[in-house]
């Protein structure tokens, strides 16, 4: 690749300064005159019919400025995508503990609490569904809205189902020398962003419009939901995303409810309204990563060649579908892993239950299935006494291979490189030789055992065949010759603001410090769909590059005018433009010239993802236009006396294509692996009859700095033709293979493969989970008697 000035060079995050000084303002830091506080009254039952809601008691309290229910909205506040089954405030039924019923705005906290207590909601309890395995039984209580016999989706408790089909796996499996058949389960995962949900709505004086500050992932989706459910016009609503204290996929649906609720409260009361979630409210009411029950059967020849794979998954979507239809589709596409098979069949059922509700979370469906397939493949290696990396190298996809979906891949396939690189940097061969395979019968009492494990990942880029996939950005030169850049895709910490700035700077050949990227704002940015699925670098990056290229052309035109030459004769040297007679002109001079020539110094760029197509009927097609590839190795030390697992070493090799922002990519890998470590060992969202057992950080444990080792992150920078400057992406795949790498390492150490996450103390020590984890607070205060 050509030498670059800024791409791939050390750079610092554009907004790091205000964050280290503490001046970056998050929505809870905003305070405006006459601002009201607000909160929702939420269901304390997992499933119930709403018989009546009496808000008069609340409305009569002095200082209460607005009390709203679903009746204050269009079509009872119904919304949702891709399946419209949610409400901004519950209508007719509440379907999970935490479902919002009423929203109230008041002068202060005391009045607000009194008002919430004064609302009378008459709920008739309904039987609930808490075990996703039972959701589709004929006698299961109905959580979904459509009868079981309905046409299409959803019907009964089935939200949607997916298949992937290639050949006849049953026949092929019969001829396999070795088959692994197992059930794997994962629990829900809580996003645990350190900033909880919140929003601030400010009504416009003398109009029916409103501005909403909301740390949601997609300001345009928030805006469209507000318009639709409140009944406003496009020009009546402006959504601005302030700094976001982490999202990881978790600030969509619940945030759209919050943004809409505060908007309506603001319009009713005529005053600014702020709503902030406590941590408990956030953990109870916000959506989670789905839980999955997976049955996997994988067959191979005795030389290790994988032959067939059969997968059946049940996805617990909880009370509402949110984006789970998309995550479950991604699960289906990735369930067999990045390997070649003669035949495969995937069946995924997405079901309604009353266990909270599930939605997007980094990994987006791949996290769950990667765990299962990487354990199964590893088990095959183990039984054949084959090295786990060798087995994967033997079977993994290579350039121009055809996948089990029937997709012919391009030259960018890089999983071999990732596996070989991670093998090298982790000193895999030496460690595997040094550390004997654990055998439960041979372990001495209280022995500390080392183990090393590997997992591979492929991760479809962007939305795939889930929907229209495009992004757009704008670039303009201001009067003072600084530049302003916008994108519809948002940076909630992952670094896309910096990435886009660097791309624009590189394309224009100017100092990145000249470029200022605006905060995501529906008034200034262009809708680019949701910021999910690790699509920001490619989609938004390409759109930025296009806008920058167009602006570059305009400036070259001006320079040519200045030098009285052809555009092709203009050279660049640093920021300067050099004419054929070697006379230099500065950037500012060229910009001036452009103005004099009457050229418009403002451009747009739009990039549409290459076409995908998927046949839902036949279960085949080209689901994603490209894939990210990666491989990770974890080293653990297991205390076989107590079940405690230390992750003592970690190595990752990811096919990021060109690295644009090195610090940023590393940070994403480290952060993703850390979330995966938590998912593997300690994060446990337990719903007991629909009641979440973990409501704060004392009960829901995420890794601290003492739980994570130093991680070695490396990149396979095979340039990706469709990405800006050859870049691919990173955000999600860093997380996805971490749990299986760690579980496979535990297997190496102990000889036991833990097929249910998290591999907490109990599962590692006694092979099963016990209910009741306990919390700091509960123990300190003697709230639960053992």
């Amino acid at each position: 690749m050509a030498k670059t000035q800024f791409i791939g060079k050390p750079a610092t995050r554009v907004d790091a300064l205000e964050k280290v000084m503490g001046t970056a303002k998050f929505v809870a830091d905003y305070s405006v005159p006459n601002m009201l506080v607000s909160r929702c009254l939420r269901s304390t039952l997992p499933h119930a019919r709403i018989l009546s809601i009496d808000i008069t008691g609340a409305q009569n309290i002095p200082g209460v400025r607005a009390v709203i229910t679903s009746e204050d909205f269009v079509n009872h506040s119904r919304f949702g995508f891709p399946i419209e089954d949610m409400y901004m405030l519950a209508y007719q039924r509440v379907r999970f503990v935490g479902d919002p019923i009423v929203a109230i705005a008041a002068d202060n906290e005391d009045i607000l609490l009194a008002a919430l207590a004064a609302v009378k909601v008459d709920l008739e309890p309904l039987p609930g569904v808490f075990d996703p395995r039972l959701a589709l039984q004929p006698d299961a209580p109905l959580v979904g809205e459509n009868p079981r016999e309905a046409e299409g989706h959803p019907r009964g408790n089935l939200v949607i189902d997916y298949i992937v089909r290639q050949g006849d796996p049953d026949a092929v499996l019969r001829d396999c020398d070795i088959t692994v058949e197992a059930e794997y389960t994962t629990m829900h995962q809580e996003h645990a962003y350190i900033e909880t949900e919140g929003a601030l709505a400010i009504p416009w004086p003398g109009s029916s419009g409103v501005t909403i500050y909301a740390p949601c992932q997609s300001p345009f989706i928030a805006k469209n939901n507000v318009i639709k459910t409140i009944g406003l016009e496009q020009e009546d609503v402006r959504v601005i995303q302030p700094y976001v204290g982490g999202a990881f996929g978790g600030k969509d649906d619940t945030m759209y409810q919050t943004a809409t609720q505060v908007a309506k409260l603001a319009l009713v009361s005529g005053q600014p309204v702020q709503m902030l979630f406590s941590r408990e409210e956030s953990m109870i009411a916000s959506y989670k990563r789905d839980a999955m029950v997976m049955q996997l059967k994988v067959g191979a020849k005795k030389d290790g060649t994988l032959q067939a794979c059969k997968f059946h998954g049940i996805v617990d979507s909880g009370a509402y579908s949110a984006i789970t239809p998309f995550t479950a589709w991604r699960s289906s596409i990735h369930a067999m892993g990045p390997y070649r098979y003669q035949a495969c069949a995937v069946d995924t059922d997405v079901v309604y239950t009353n266990n909270g509700y599930a939605g997007a979370f980094r990994g987006f469906g791949n996290t769950e299935v990667c765990y299962a397939i990487e354990l199964a493949v590893d088990e095959i290696a183990s039984r054949l006494k084959m090295d786990p990396i060798d087995l994967r190298l033997k079977n993994c996809l290579r350039p121009f291979d055809t996948t089990s979906h029937g997709q012919r891949l391009g030259e960018d396939v890089a999983i071999v490189e990732c596996l070989e690189q991670v093998r090298k940097i982790s000193d895999w061969d030496r460690r595997r030789k040094e550390i004997p395979q654990g055998d439960p019968k041979q372990i001495r009492p209280g022995e500390f055992r080392r183990g090393i494990g590997v997992a591979a990942v492929f991760h479809g880029i962007s939305l795939g065949a889930e929907g229209k996939d495009f992004a757009a950005g704008t670039l303009r030169i201001n009067d003072d010759n600084t530049l302003t850049l916008t994108s519809g895709l948002t940076d909630y910490g992952a670094g896309s603001r910096t990435v886009y700035t660097l791309i624009a700077a590189e394309t224009l050949g100017i100092d990145p410090n000249r470029i200022h990227m605006l905060r995501p704002d529906t008034d200034t940015a262009l809708d680019s769909g949701p910021t999910v699925a690790s699509r920001a670098t490619i989609m938004g990056g390409n759109a930025t590059q296009e806008a920058a290229m167009r602006l570059d052309t305009i400036l070259l035109t001006a320079a040519a005018g200045l030098f009285h030459c052809q555009m092709v004769e203009v050279l660049r040297e640093g920021e300067n433009y050099i004419g054929p007679n070697e006379e230099p002109a500065t950037f500012d001079q060229v910009v001036d010239q452009a103005r004099q020539m009457g050229l418009v110094l403002s451009t747009q760029g739009r990039w549409n993802a290459p076409e995908n197509h998927w046949s839902f009927e036949s279960g085949s097609g080209k689901p994603y236009f490209a894939y990210h590839y990666g491989a990770q190795v974890a080293e653990v030390l297991v205390d076989t006396g107590t079940g405690k697992v230390e992750v003592t070493g970690y190595w990752a090799a990811h096919n990021t294509g060109t690295v644009i922002f090195p610090q940023g990519v590393l940070g994403q890998v480290f952060g993703g692996i850390t979330q995966g470590l938590g998912y593997a060992l300690m994060e446990r969202v337990d719903y007991d009859q629909g009641y979440i057992q973990t409501t704060n950080f004392d009960e829901y444990l995420i890794p601290t700095a003492m739980d994570v080792p130093d991680i070695v992150g490396t990149f396979v920078e095979k340039p990706f033709a469709d990405g800006p400057y050859g870049a691919k992406n990173i955000a999600e795949p860093g997380l996805v293979p971490a749990a299986p790498a760690i579980i496979n390492a535990i297997y190496h150490a102990t000889g036991r493969r833990i097929q249910n996450l998290p591999a907490n103390l109990e599962r590692v020590l006694i092979g099963k989970d016990l209910r009741k984890e306990g919390s700091n607070t509960a123990c300190k205060l003697g709230l639960h008697q053992e």
Partner: protein
């Protein structure tokens, strides 16, 4: 109840209910919003401040306990000569330690607290010093790098005297 606290070297007076936590006094009454609320039960460290030089969770300290005492918040951490970043803050920027930024004020204070008492910490000690500050974005490593680099630079500066 009346409160007088020395916050970042400045005497601040305000009035608030006696049961107000130090966190809420700082944020809602003194309008210093750099200190964040993440959990309100002393588990996440986003609310960390220095009270008489000691790192504490301000969500679990009554403002009344801090009455008449010295509090340092992120607003009080900056270069000596100006309002820009000090060496630790600059290191956070340079080493990629910042992603969403929400945990960062607490992390910076935890870093400062460590370096005040242990000018030559190894990586294990650094991790222990920030173990009470949860971060969900970074995986901690670049934060450890930033604190370590600052310690080394400060040592070099001191030995040059």
């Amino acid at each position: 109840m009346k409160f007088t606290l020395l916050v970042n070297g400045i005497k601040m007076n305000t009035e608030a209910p006696a049961d107000t936590s130090l966190l809420y006094l700082l944020r809602d009454y003194l309008h210093l919003t750099g200190t964040k609320e993440g959990c309100n039960i002393g588990e996440c460290g986003a609310c960390s401040v220095l009270l008489d030089g000691k790192l504490v969770n301000s969500c679990l300290i009554l403002a009344a306990q801090a009455n008449g005492r010295e509090v340092k918040t992120i607003e009080g951490v900056h270069a000596l000569e100006n309002d820009g970043p000090n060496d630790l803050q600059q290191a956070f920027i340079d080493y990629g330690a910042v992603q969403c930024g929400f945990c960062i004020p607490g992390m910076v204070l935890a870093g400062e607290s460590l370096l005040n008492s242990n000018p030559n910490p190894n990586r294990t000690e650094i991790r222990a010093a920030i173990a009470g500050n949860l971060c969900r974005c970074t995986g901690y490593q670049q934060i450890v790098d930033a604190i370590q680099a600052t310690a080394v630079k400060r040592q070099e500066k001191n030995s040059r005297g």
